[in-house]
C-alpha cells in the first residue's frame, strides 16, 4: 500500500512539475512575443508551413465530417419528421464544435509533430545552443514565430473548415437526400448566430496557441538522439490532442 502511494505521489509530483515548466515556457513565450526584434519573415514562413500546408488535410476532414453529419442527422431526424433541421444541425455543429476541434486535432497531428521534430533535432545537434552563442535568443527566434503563426493560422483554418463543412452538409442534404434548398439554407441561417461563429473562433485561437506551445516545448526539451526526437514528436501530438479535447469542454461550458 505504501509503495503504491509512493508511486502515485511520484507520478503526481512529476505531472505538476511538468505543468509548471510548460506554464513557465508559456510565460517566456508571451514575454518575447511582445518585445522587439520582431522576426516578421520567420512568422510568415511558419504561417505558410503551419497554415497553408495544412489546408488540404483540413479541407478533407471538414468536407467529410459535414457530409457524414448531414447523412447521420437525416437518418435520425427522419424518424420524427424533422429532416428540415439538418441544415441547422450541420451549421451549428460545424461552427461551435467540430470546425475548431477537428481543425485543432489535424493541425496538432501535422504541424505540431513537425515543430517538435524540427526543434528536437536542432536541440540534440546543438543548433539551439549555437543560436545562443551567436547572441540570438532561441525563444524569440524559434518559438515566437511558430507560436504566433500557429495561433493566427488556426483561426483562419477553422473559418475554412467551418465553410467547407457546411458546404459538404448542404451538398449531401440537398443534392443527395433531396431536402428543399431554401428550407436548408433558411434553417441554417436562422439557427446559427454570429456569436456561435465567434465561440468557435475563440476556441480556434486557444487550440492554435496550445499546438504551437506544446510543439515547441517538446522540441526544446528533447534529450537523447533520434529516439528522443521520436518521443518528443509523439508526446507533442498526444499532449496537444488531449489538451484540445479537455479545453474544448471547459471552453464550451464557459461560452455556453
Amino acid at each position: 500500500m505504501n509503495d503504491w502511494l509512493e508511486k502515485l505521489g511520484e507520478k503526481v509530483f512529476l505531472l505538476l512539475t511538468e505543468m509548471g515548466r510548460v506554464l513557465m515556457f508559456l510565460g517566456q513565450t508571451l514575454r518575447w512575443t511582445f518585445s522587439s526584434p520582431f522576426y516578421v519573415k520567420s512568422v510568415l514562413k511558419q504561417m505558410e508551413m503551419i497554415g497553408v500546408n495544412s489546408v488540404p488535410v483540413v479541407m478533407t476532414t471538414a468536407i467529410s465530417t459535414g457530409m457524414v453529419l448531414a447523412l447521420q442527422s437525416y437518418t435520425g431526424f427522419k424518424r420524427f419528421g424533422a429532416e428540415s433541421l439538418i441544415g441547422a444541425v450541420v451549421s451549428l455543429s460545424m461552427t461551435r464544435e467540430l470546425g475548431p476541434v477537428l481543425t485543432g486535432l489535424m493541425v496538432a497531428g501535422r504541424a505540431g509533430a513537425s515543430m517538435a521534430a524540427e526543434l528536437g533535432t536542432m536541440k540534440v545537434t546543438e543548433q539551439i545552443d549555437a543560436l545562443t552563442t551567436l547572441a540570438t535568443n532561441p525563444m524569440k527566434y524559434l518559438v515566437v514565430p511558430r507560436f504566433v503563426a500557429s495561433t493566427v493560422m488556426m483561426f483562419f483554418l477553422t473559418i475554412l473548415g467551418m465553410m467547407i463543412g457546411v458546404t459538404g452538409g448542404y451538398f449531401v442534404g440537398v443534392k443527395v437526400l433531396g431536402t428543399n434548398p431554401t428550407t436548408y439554407i433558411n434553417q441554417s441561417i436562422d439557427n446559427t448566430q454570429v456569436t456561435d461563429i465567434w465561440y468557435g473562433l475563440i476556441k480556434a485561437l486557444v487550440f492554435g496557441a496550445v499546438v504551437g506551445l506544446i510543439g515547441c516545448y517538446k522540441g526544446f526539451t528533447t534529450e537523447g538522439g533520434a529516439e528522443g526526437v521520436g518521443k518528443a514528436t509523439t508526446g507533442a501530438v498526444v499532449i496537444s490532442c488531449m489538451l484540445i479535447l479537455i479545453l474544448d469542454y471547459f471552453l464550451s461550458a464557459l461560452l455556453w
Binding site: E126, Q127, D129, A130, T132, A135, T136
Partner: protein
C-alpha cells in the same frame, strides 16, 4: 587581468556533481586546452564560459565582467566577443553555407544580404573553403562542416574562440589540417582560444598551456612539455592512453 577567469566553479546535475571547484585563468591571446576523460565535465566548463550554463557556486569572469551578474542584454553583448566551434559543427541545416556563416551579421548589423555574403565568402576563404557558399550543410563532409563552423565563429571578429572537441570524428589528416587552421587563425587574428579535447596530438600542437580535468577539479596545468613530462600518475596515464593506472574505464 586575465581574459577568462573561472573561480571556484561548482556544478551539479541532479545528484551528479560534475564540477567541484574549478579554478582556471586564461590570458589574452593564449591558447588553453582542457583535457580529460569522457564525461569528466570538459564541455560543461566550455558552456559556463559562454553562458550556456551557470554555476551553482563560483563565478565566470570575462575581461573583468562577472557573467553571473549580467542580464539577458548584457549576456548577449558579452557573447558577441565569442565564437564557438561545436563538436558536430551545429550548422543550421535549413540555411545555406553563406547564411550560416553570416548569421550573426544578419542578426546584429544592418548590412545587406549582398554585403553579408561578401564577408561570409572572405571568412570561408580564411578557413580554406571556396565555391561552397550556396551549398546546404547536408552536402558537406565532416571536415568541411567544421571549417564552415569555424568561419561562422569568426564572422563577427570574435576575441575569444571556444573549440569543443575540434578534431573528434575526423580522419587523422583532416584532423591535423583543422589543428593547423586553429594555429593559423590565432596568428592571423590574435584571438584567445580555449579548446577541450581528449586528442593529445591535437592538444600538444595547438596549446600554449594544457589543463587536466579529473573528478571535477583541475589537477595539473602547464605547457605541453610540462604535461608530457608530468610526474602525476593520473596525468601520465591519461596522456599515454594506458588502461592500467589510477583512472578506470567507465
Amino acid at each position: 587581468m586575465a581574459m577568462i577567469e573561472l573561480i571556484d566553479l561548482h556544478k551539479s546535475f541532479g545528484s551528479l556533481q560534475v564540477l567541484r571547484g574549478v579554478d582556471l585563468a586564461v590570458e589574452k591571446g593564449e591558447s588553453m586546452t582542457v583535457i580529460g576523460g569522457s564525461g569528466s565535465g570538459k564541455s560543461v566548463i566550455l558552456k559556463h564560459i559562454i553562458g550556456l550554463l551557470f554555476p551553482d557556486r563560483g563565478k565566470v569572469v570575462i575581461e573583468g565582467q562577472v557573467l553571473n551578474d549580467l542580464d539577458e542584454f548584457g549576456l548577449n553583448e558579452t557573447r558577441k566577443k565569442f565564437g564557438m566551434l561545436f563538436q558536430m559543427a551545429a550548422l543550421f541545416d535549413s540555411l545555406t553555407v553563406w547564411e550560416n556563416v553570416g548569421f550573426s551579421l544578419k542578426q546584429h548589423t544592418k548590412l545587406s544580404d549582398r554585403e553579408i555574403r561578401k564577408v561570409a565568402t572572405e571568412k570561408l576563404a580564411l578557413v580554406g573553403l571556396k565555391d561552397v557558399e550556396d551549398k546546404m550543410p547536408s552536402e558537406l563532409s565532416g571536415g568541411m562542416k567544421k571549417r564552415v563552423g569555424l568561419a561562422r565563429a569568426i564572422c563577427m571578429d570574435a576575441q575569444i574562440i571556444l573549440y569543443d572537441e575540434p578534431t573528434t570524428g575526423l580522419d587523422p589528416i583532416t584532423a591535423d589540417s583543422i589543428n593547423d587552421l586553429i594555429i593559423d587563425l590565432r596568428k592571423k587574428l590574435g584571438v584567445t582560444s580555449v579548446s577541450i579535447t581528449h586528442d593529445m596530438q591535437s592538444a600538444y600542437k595547438i596549446s600554449d598551456r594544457i589543463a587536466m580535468l579529473y573528478k571535477g577539479e583541475i589537477i595539473e596545468i602547464g605547457t605541453p612539455d610540462e604535461i608530457r613530462n608530468s610526474a602525476n600518475p593520473i596525468v601520465h596515464q591519461f596522456i599515454t592512453g594506458s588502461a592500467v593506472g589510477p583512472i578506470t574505464a567507465e
